[in-house]
């Protein structure tokens, strides 16, 4: 079936968002956000796929005439992964600070603003 990749992509985004909404732990929120972002990788790679296409890296085993999948979306996926990693790092640092200041990482218990 040719629509599986798109179903998986949409499912990952929605499942990740559901996890963010239902979460009881901020570290869990960060992980769920990464899962939602993973949906965009699947979508990008799905768009660039070609039946029978090989990796867009030419060499002795892949002549330049070979059918390859779309390298542009793969490069964008790489950018996407890097951005996702940096965001995860930054959010986890914020979670550590929240945990120190509020003594909790449950989003439902973070009500009052505190300086």
């Amino acid at each position: 079936m040719s629509i599986y990749a798109f179903i998986v992509a949409g499912w990952l985004v929605l499942a990740g968002l559901a996890g963010v909404v239902r979460s009881r732990d901020l570290v869990h929120v960060v992980v769920c956000l990464s899962i939602a972002q993973a949906g965009t990788y699947v979508l990008l790679l799905g768009i660039g796929y070609q039946h029978g296409g090989t990796a867009p890296i030419f060499g002795p085993t892949t002549p330049t005439s070979a059918a390859v999948v779309d390298p542009v979306v793969q490069a964008m996926t790489l950018t996407d992964i890097v951005v996702s990693a940096t965001i995860t790092a930054l959010l986890l640092a914020i979670v550590i600070q929240i945990s120190k200041r509020h003594d909790t990482v449950d989003p439902d218990q973070l009500r009052a603003l505190r300086g």
């Binding site: 040719s2 070609q50 060499g59 059918a67 779309d70 542009v72 490069a75 890097v82 640092a93």
Partner: protein, 251 residues
């Protein structure tokens, strides 16, 4: 907003988003077809610049300015995390925990794997324009490899292995080198990040113009950035006062 209300609001919004996604996916070109106009253009442009790894060519040649932005995001995030995790006054300095008991077999694996991983990381960075890999991937391998020292030995060994002030300087130098290669493009051929070095022969180590140079710059920046980033977390986890550490670990 209570949990129940929030979940009802989410379900309505998720259903709406789901419908929009289905509508959007229906407008996409079919899955797996042979029509990829960007692919055709990118492959032709990469081959014209003698870069066998088209993805690297897209990242470091055709869309190099985006990669400069991406690299800057990474730099910003490392600075942000380091600022958020900086030691505060109420935080007591504690001596890092000792090595504890490490199995001799684990140590042996460390001795073998540390140089091997560093070699693989360097290979992935340097051959980024020829084989799968590149500066980002290789940089992460290099930084991860260094931390094998922590896993298989102790924190003190890791500290000796990666002088943090050097890493901070090297990270900034990597980012600067990327911008400098871009500026060289302006000077030589009037366009930012234009190719300034000979293209070489297809498939050679020294080929594809500035792509390997930019890969190495990014590799240095990513490796050192990840080291600095993880060092901020290590400082929080290992160098806190004993009272703080107990509170942290009870969660």
């Amino acid at each position: 907003m209570s949990r129940t209300t929030r979940q009802i609001v989410f379900l309505v919004a998720a259903a709406g988003l789901g419908v929009l996604l289905v509508l959007a996916f229906r407008g996409l070109p079919g899955f797996g077809t042979t029509t990829h106009p960007y692919r055709d253009l990118a492959v032709a442009a990469a081959l014209a610049h003698r870069a066998p790894n088209v993805i690297s060519s897209v990242n470091f040649d055709q869309r190099a300015i985006d990669t400069l932005g991406e690299e800057t995001i990474l730099l910003g995030s490392v600075i942000g995390a380091a600022a958020l995790l900086r030691p505060t006054r109420e935080m007591r300095r504690a001596s890092p925990p000792g090595g504890g008991h490490v199995l001799p077999a684990t140590r042996l694996v460390g001795y073998f794997m540390l140089p091997l991983t560093l070699l693989v990381g360097t290979d992935v960075v340097v051959h980024g324009h020829l084989t799968p890999g590149g500066g980002f991937q290789g940089g992460v391998v290099l930084a991860t490899g260094l931390h094998l020292q922590y896993v298989t030995a102790d924190f003190e060994g890791l500290r000796r292995l990666r002088p943090l002030s050097w890493c901070e300087a090297a990270e900034a130098s990597g980012a600067t080198a990327f911008a400098a290669i871009g500026l060289a493009g302006i000077v030589v051929s009037g366009a930012f990040l234009a190719n300034v070095v000979p293209l070489g022969h297809f498939g050679d180590l020294l080929s594809a113009g500035t792509v390997p140079l930019l890969n190495i710059a990014v590799g240095i920046e990513v490796a050192c950035g990840v080291v600095v980033l993880l060092a901020s977390y290590f400082r929080q986890a290992l160098l806190l006062g004993p009272a703080e550490t107990e509170k942290e670990s009870s969660r």
